[in-house]
Symmetry: D2
Subunit: 241 residues, 4 copies
Amino acid sequence: MAIRVTVWNEGRHEQINEEVRRVYPEGIHGAIANHLLTQGMKVRTATLDEPEHGLTDEVLADTDVLIWWAHIAHHEVSDEVVDKVYQRVLDGMGLIVLHSGHFSKIFRKLMGTTCDLKWREIGEKERLWVVEPGHPIAEGIGEYIELPNTEMYGERFDIPAPDTLVFISWFAGGEVFRSGCCYHRGRGKIFYFRPGHETFPIFHNKDIQRVLTNAVRWAAPVDGPVPRFGHHPEPLEKFEG
Amino acid sequence: MAIRVTVWNEGRHEQINEEVRRVYPEGIHGAIANHLLTQGMKVRTATLDEPEHGLTDEVLADTDVLIWWAHIAHHEVSDEVVDKVYQRVLDGMGLIVLHSGHFSKIFRKLMGTTCDLKWREIGEKERLWVVEPGHPIAEGIGEYIELPNTEMYGERFDIPAPDTLVFISWFAGGEVFRSGCCYHRGRGKIFYFRPGHETFPIFHNKDIQRVLTNAVRWAAPVDGPVPRFGHHPEPLEKFEG
Amino acid sequence: MAIRVTVWNEGRHEQINEEVRRVYPEGIHGAIANHLLTQGMKVRTATLDEPEHGLTDEVLADTDVLIWWAHIAHHEVSDEVVDKVYQRVLDGMGLIVLHSGHFSKIFRKLMGTTCDLKWREIGEKERLWVVEPGHPIAEGIGEYIELPNTEMYGERFDIPAPDTLVFISWFAGGEVFRSGCCYHRGRGKIFYFRPGHETFPIFHNKDIQRVLTNAVRWAAPVDGPVPRFGHHPEPLEKFEG
Amino acid sequence: MAIRVTVWNEGRHEQINEEVRRVYPEGIHGAIANHLLTQGMKVRTATLDEPEHGLTDEVLADTDVLIWWAHIAHHEVSDEVVDKVYQRVLDGMGLIVLHSGHFSKIFRKLMGTTCDLKWREIGEKERLWVVEPGHPIAEGIGEYIELPNTEMYGERFDIPAPDTLVFISWFAGGEVFRSGCCYHRGRGKIFYFRPGHETFPIFHNKDIQRVLTNAVRWAAPVDGPVPRFGHHPEPLEKFEG
């Protein structure tokens, strides 16, 4: 059965910046969605300025994996929607957080840390090295992905140590970054992926698209146990208490 | 230099329950503090009903490791105090969360998950097995700690997988639990330790006391780097951009 | 494309013990293979007493996931075959080590530790609790798997902390055990799964069979990068050295 | 009580290369030992060409932490000595493996992988970024350590994912490397630290010396439980079997 993906985009850069529109005529969400549609997935998009940011109960219930891109309006995302997304992730929905989404309310809430970092925007070269070559998110990728012009993100990246670290970035200007980070949280899986600036055409890069495909498949829910929490007054076993 | 410990206790059970007062005449905080004082530490206590819950800026600034016991009044802890403790942990203060503190605001905020679990209160036997015998928190402990009568906490414990898992509990009634969990968050270290009921005299147990001592030493801040976040417009290296 | 599985079994218990033959008329390998055949996999078996233990270069090259059951003849497995299997795992072949396979040469070589443990054989009850419910190996499983009669394995299990811990076992006699352990090693993935005694009919249990199916799918190779090691005299980037 | 450190050095470069002798007049082992002596530790050295490589039973029994530097003669280290060191690590002795020691028999045996990597020797710049600033091995270090001229080691580094990753290196020529890796194995702790070439004067660098001091303290044995493995015929608990 096709994985149901919702690509969420803040969508503000596209409204105010012609260069962004030229790079992403259908928006960042449109570019990502168009790629995933070619991978046999069932894809919808949603943006900040839609009612409930496009993330109604119905949409969330119908989403296996949510992709999140945002940058300049994190504070405009309503806490109510964040709480719903949070609950869905803990219930098993996959979440892929891209680039400047590191500072989104939902990512910070799930990580429990500030998710702060260093940044610089001079279009320097980035090279994402695969450090876990047997991981499904590295399928079809070479030893590294090279991006000729990117915004730099540098350590210290204030996150919990990932359950699995898949990519480490090298930047021409002298920094490194944990760029592909896998987490289990509740019954859900989260992948943070660093690349993805609004004017550098990152999401048109074939390797980046491949990682997104892989990450969606990895993050898709599994039909595992639903824990029953709370009071269990009866022991499972008899014993001499 | 002596490690500066603040033992925080909700302190409500002691007010309303004579049995708790009998087991812990000086409160749970008093029992823990009295033990740590014998270990060469500088110890103070603080409780919910003090102004600012006893956790003023001065107290927090003067604390290397904060111990947290709470149970029935998590919701009464002010968000402002929680935010201050949170910031101090990310800045390097150690945090030791005991037993029912799993549901405290501060622990949930730092974990990013619900921290929910199963529980049962019939006084069954618990055995905490050491699974990482080279870890400093296991110093002086045998292969397991046996507690003849405890409240049961059972998996699924809804936490992020610990950076290091030190103890796994066995319960007579049929459950298991990840009972000693180490985390790095920001520049701080967190240890969750399961035992510690208000009427079972857990904190008088020598092994439990030893674990508390070890955990304080492990969680004490180190003088590591203070990351500088944000905009770094100048690259560290010159390159042909 | 169907996953190619080779089920390897020492196969000695079946020769010398009628009870084992009654429980597993086609051998332990036969029971496992028969189940996996129903899951759309391409399955072959191999045993210790075949030439090269049935693990010729051709067989290994044609294997995506190797399942390993062994108990009383670990020392009879030739180092040459172990080295070939080891190399194949690092090259990407999945490896699933069952029960007493913990003491096999191949598992110890890959773990770098003794893989020793406690054991007892009185047919006590085991309950395997799922502690990572979003993991694909837990798909289709309830909160726990109950086995009414098993051999006990108890901590300390002398292994490296798993990359992901999926199951923790409870035993009636008082022990716990990390029973489902995932590892990345080289380009390969390894899953250690505790259950599987030769006379208790563990491999006829539907939940155990489901875990085996899940584990094979999880451990199957991905087409990730093939690292090029060694001397790289030319820098990828020009710099002012 | 003073930590007892044995600094082991292959010691061959010093015999055949005048430049090495100029940089390290007392050998690499001498330089490291001289530093650690200033830190209140009890230090001895041992080298390959001594009887039993200087690692007799008495020396190993009297060692809390063993530091290992080697490069061109890994194959000359006797398997018997490797087995003794291995056993001591599993029994609790700390082990710090430096630079080209990644290819030593003892490190490969403990890791269970090839420990292979990329390398280049053109004296390029390295910057070791701290990614876990609350870890004791980062004490007294800034956000990064800069080495103006080093040998490059690049990913893919074929190791198990470290229990804790403390440093990631950036190299001018375009690579990254997991340069500070912590492991628990058995009751012992292992730290792999990348810097340390024989002619670049790495071990005279104050930050590198500080990391060595920290690592020795972190890796020193703790008096934790000694697991009893094997047959435990009697259950700890009575139950209705």
